[in-house]
C-alpha cells in the first residue's frame, strides 16, 4: 500500500502545469470557440511532446504503454487549464482501436495519436455519448453502433454547446472499420478511459475554479474587509475543497482498477465520475457566486471554466447513469 503519486508522476503534473500556464490557455480557448483551431492544435502538439497522448497508446504502436494513472494525472492538468479540443475522445479512440480483434486499425491510427499528429473524435451512440465532440476540428471521427465501428465520412451537423469551446456533432455515413462481438468490449474500454479522463479533467477544472476564487475573495473588499474573511464565504469555499479532496482518491483508485483490468472497474469509474463531476460543478457554482456579478460575465476568463464544468458533469456518464452503475456494477 502506497496510495500516493510518486515523484515522477508529481513532476509530470508540475511540468504540464508550468507549460500550460506559460501557454496562456484562455486565449487558446477563446480562439477555439470562434472556430480558429490553429492555437489549439499548436498546443495539442506540445501536449503530445510532453507525452500526454502516448500514455493511451501501447508501445508497439509508438506509445509508452497504456498508463491510466498517468493519464488521470495529465488530464487533471488539462482540466486545470481548460484546454480545448477532443482530448478525452482522442484517448478513448486509442482505447477503442487498441481493443479491437483486428490490429490493423490500431496500426493505422495509434502512432499518429501518440505523436499528436492525429486529433480524433468519437461517439458511441449510447445515452452517455450521443455526439462526437469537436468532430469538425478532428482529423478523424469514429462512430460505434452496437457491434460496428465506422470511420465517419463527415462531421455532419454541428451544434454549439453551452460551453462555447465545445461543439457537438452527429457524424454521417462512413466505412465500416470493424464488426463483431469484440466491438462491444472495445467500446466499453473506450467508455471507461473516457470516464476516467473526464473525471480527472473535472477535478483539475474544479481546483482551478477554487484557486481563482480564493485569490479573488482575498483581495475583494466590502464593508471594509476582504470578503474572504466572512464566514458565509469561507464555509462555502471549505465545502468546495472537501468535495474536491474526496473526489481525487476515487479517481486515482479507479485508474488503478482500470490499469489492473479489474472486472468491477466500471463501478469504480462511475463513482469517480459522479464525485468529480459534482465537485467541479459545485466549485463552478461557488466561483460564480463568490465573484458576484463580474463572475456572470463572458469577458472574465473565469467563464471559460464555469461553462465547462456544466458540460463535463454530463459528458461520458451523467450523474444518474453513474449512480445507477455504482449499485449495479
Amino acid at each position: 500500500m502506497r496510495f500516493l503519486l510518486d515523484d515522477e508522476q508529481r513532476e509530470f503534473a508540475r511540468s504540464l502545469d508550468g507549460m500550460l500556464t506559460a501557454a496562456g490557455t484562455p486565449a487558446v480557448v477563446r480562439a477555439w470557440s470562434t472556430g480558429d483551431h490553429g492555437p489549439g492544435r499548436a498546443l495539442w502538439a506540445r501536449l503530445a511532446e510532453a507525452g500526454v497522448f502516448a500514455l493511451a497508446v501501447p508501445e508497439e504502436q509508438e506509445g509508452v504503454g497504456v498508463r491510466p494513472i498517468e493519464l488521470a494525472v495529465g488530464f487533471t492538468e488539462l482540466g486545470r487549464h481548460a484546454v480545448p479540443g477532443p482530448l478525452v475522445e482522442t484517448v478513448a479512440v486509442a482505447a477503442l482501436l487498441d481493443h479491437l480483434d483486428d490490429t490493423a486499425p490500431a496500426t493505422a491510427w495509434l502512432p499518429g495519436i501518440a505523436s499528436g499528429k492525429t486529433a480524433a473524435s468519437l461517439c458511441l451512440l449510447t445515452p452517455d455519448s450521443p455526439y462526437a465532440l469537436d468532430a469538425d476540428a478532428a482529423d478523424v471521427v469514429f462512430v460505434v453502433t452496437e457491434d460496428t465501428v465506422r470511420v465517419a465520412e463527415s462531421a455532419g451537423p454541428v451544434q454549439p454547446s453551452a460551453d462555447p469551446a465545445r461543439r457537438l456533432a452527429r457524424p454521417l455515413g462512413g466505412t465500416v472499420l470493424a464488426q463483431g462481438p469484440g466491438v462491444r468490449a472495445a467500446a466499453a474500454h473506450a467508455a471507461g478511459i473516457a470516464a476516467l479522463a473526464t473525471a480527472a479533467q473535472a477535478l483539475g477544472l474544479g481546483r482551478a475554479l477554487l484557486d481563482r476564487t480564493v485569490d479573488y475573495v482575498k483581495q475583494r473588499t466590502q464593508f471594509g474587509r476582504p470578503i474572504g474573511s466572512f464566514q458565509a464565504v469561507k464555509h462555502r469555499l471549505a465545502d468546495t475543497l472537501i468535495a474536491l479532496e474526496f473526489a481525487q482518491p476515487l479517481i486515482h483508485a479507479s485508474a488503478i482498477a482500470l490499469a489492473a483490468g479489474q472486472p468491477d472497474c466500471a463501478r469504480d469509474l462511475a463513482a469517480a465520475k459522479v464525485a468529480a463531476g459534482e465537485a467541479a460543478y459545485g466549485a463552478a457554482r461557488t466561483a460564480l457566486h463568490c465573484h458576484g456579478a463580474v463572475g456572470y460575465t463572458e469577458e472574465l476568463d473565469l467563464s471559460l471554466w464555469i461553462r465547462k464544468a456544466r458540460a463535463l458533469r454530463t459528458a461520458w456518464g451523467t450523474p444518474a447513469a453513474c449512480r445507477a452503475r455504482v449499485l449495479t456494477g
Binding site: 500500500m1 474573511s229 464566514q231 469561507k234 471549505a238 479532496e245 485508474a255 445507477a324
Partner: protein, 389 residues
C-alpha cells in the same frame, strides 16, 4: 501507486476476521448509552483485551500489538463488518491515550494505559462547560495549587457516558492572570467518584441517560495526574488533534460496513423504480468509498514521513455529513418502521438504524463543530483571512 495489502497485512486481516467471527455476540448487546448496556460493553472490552484486540495500535507493553496505521484500519474494517459492539472505551483510547503517548510520563503511561486497554477503567472527557462550547478556551473551571497537588472547581457538561464512567480528563484554568484565554490552562485527570464530584445524568435526544454534567467542588488531585506542563494544557490538548487522531476518531470501516448494510436493505426492501432513493444509496456508497480511499492516502502520507495537521478537519466534516445522510436514507427506506424507537420490539435490525441515526446527529457538533472545522479549512488550508467568528 499501490492499493494492495502485503501478505502480512492479509494475514493480520484473516486473524482478526477469524477472532471476530468466533467472539462477536450473535445478538447485539443492550445500548451502550444505558447503565445495563455500559456494563455489557465493559465486559466486551475485557473479551477484546484478553486476546489483545482492544488497542491493536498500542505497543505490546500496554496490551496492544504494535500494529501499523494500516493494520489498525484493517482491524476496524473487519470489526465493523462483523457487526461488533460499539467501543465503550473510545474516549480514552482515541483522545486521552494519544495525549499520554505524546506528553505523558512513563509512570503515567504505565499506570493509566493498561487498565484503559482492559476496560477496567473507562474514561469520560470533560471539555465543555456551560459557557465554553466552540469557544473552548474561554473555560472557567479552575485548578488551584495545594501542597503536592491541585484542587479542581467548577462545572463541566455534555460529558458522554460520565454517568457510568470511572475517570475523566479535562482542561482547567490554573492561572487566572494571563493575556490570552488559551494560556494558563492545565490538562488534568481526575476520578469521577472522588469527594467533591457530583455527576448529574442528562437525557440525550433519545432519552438515554448518556450525557452528564459534572460539578466539581474542590476535588483534590495529585501532581501525578497533570499531563504535560502546568499552564500548557491548551497546547497539550490540541497537539494530538492534528495527527493520527484526525484519522482515528472515526475509522472508514464504520461507514463501509454501514453502507454495505444500507445497500442490502435497499436491495431487499426498497422500490427499485424509486430512483431518488437509489441515488441517495449510491451517494452513501460513493462517500464511504471516498472516505476509505482518502484515509489510505493519508495513512500512506504518514507512513512516508508526512503529517496530517489541519487536513483532519476535512475528514471530520466529511464523515459526519456522510453518517447523517446514510442513516436518513436507511430510515426513509424503512418508511413507517423507521419511526420505531430503537428499543421497540419491532424496530428493524434490532434498532441499529434508529440508534445510529440519533448518534449521527451529534457528529457535526462534537469534537469541534463543523463550523469550527470549516473555519480551520478556510484559514489554514485555503489561506483565507481570519475574521470574526
Amino acid at each position: 501507486m499501490d492499493l494492495s495489502f502485503s501478505p502480512s497485512e492479509d494475514a493480520f486481516r484473516a486473524e482478526a476476521r477469524a477472532w471476530l467471527t468466533a467472539h462477536v455476540p450473535d445478538t447485539p448487546l443492550p445500548s451502550l448509552e444505558t447503565a445495563e448496556g455500559f456494563a455489557a460493553h465493559r465486559e466486551w472490552e475485557h473479551t477484546l483485551h484478553a486476546d489483545r484486540w482492544s488497542v491493536v495500535s498500542w505497543p505490546e507493553e500496554y496490551g496492544g500489538r504494535g500494529a501499523s496505521i494500516l493494520e489498525w484500519l484493517i482491524f476496524e474494517e473487519e470489526y465493523y463488518a462483523a457487526g461488533a459492539p460499539g467501543r465503550v472505551s473510545q474516549n480514552g483510547i482515541n483522545l486521552l491515550a494519544p495525549t499520554l503517548f505524546e506528553h505523558g510520563t512513563a509512570e503515567q503511561r504505565a499506570r493509566v494505559l493498561p487498565p484503559m486497554a482492559s476496560g477496567d477503567v473507562v474514561w469520560a472527557q470533560a471539555w465543555s462547560e456551560p459557557e465554553a462550547g466552540s469557544d473552548l478556551a474561554s473555560l472557567r473551571s479552575t485548578a488551584r495549587r495545594t501542597d503536592g497537588g491541585w484542587l479542581l472547581a467548577g462545572q463541566k457538561t455534555w460529558s458522554s457516558r460520565a454517568a457510568f464512567a470511572d475517570r475523566a480528563f479535562g482542561l482547567f484554568r490554573s492561572d487566572p492572570h494571563t493575556d490570552k484565554p488559551h494560556q494558563g490552562l492545565t490538562y488534568v485527570m481526575f476520578p469521577l467518584d472522588a469527594d467533591g464530584v457530583t455527576v448529574r445524568p442528562i437525557g440525550r435526544l433519545d432519552g438515554k441517560p448518556a450525557f452528564a454534567e459534572l460539578f466539581l467542588d474542590d476535588v483534590s488531585v495529585p501532581d501525578e495526574d497533570v499531563i504535560g506542563e502546568v499552564g500548557q494544557g491548551w497546547r497539550v490538548a490540541m497537539s494530538t488533534a492534528g495527527n493520527e487522531r484526525g484519522l482515528t476518531l472515526r475509522s472508514p470501516g464504520r461507514f463501509t460496513a454501514a453502507t454495505d448494510r444500507l445497500t442490502a436493505l435497499w436491495r431487499t426492501t426498497a422500490d427499485p423504480s424509486d430512483t431518488a432513493l437509489r441515488d441517495r444509496v449510491a451517494d452513501a456508497v460513493i462517500g464511504a468509498r471516498a472516505y476509505r480511499l482518502f484515509t489510505y492516502a493519508a495513512a500512506s502520507r504518514l507512513a512516508a514521513g508526512g503529517s496530517i495537521g489541519a487536513e483532519s478537519s476535512l475528514n471530520k466534516v466529511f464523515w459526519s455529513d456522510l453518517d447523517i445522510a446514510l442513516h436518513e436514507t436507511a430510515l426513509d427506506i424503512l418508511g413507517p418502521y423507521g419511526e420505531l424507537a430503537d428499543h421497540a420490539a419491532e424496530s428493524p435490525a434490532h434498532g441499529s438504524w434508529a440508534e445510529g441515526y440519533t448518534f449521527s446527529l451529534a457528529g457535526p457538533i462534537y469534537a469541534g463543530t463543523n463550523e469550527i472545522q470549516r473555519d480551520i479549512i478556510a484559514e489554514r488550508l485555503l489561506g483565507l483571512p481570519k475574521g470574526r467568528r
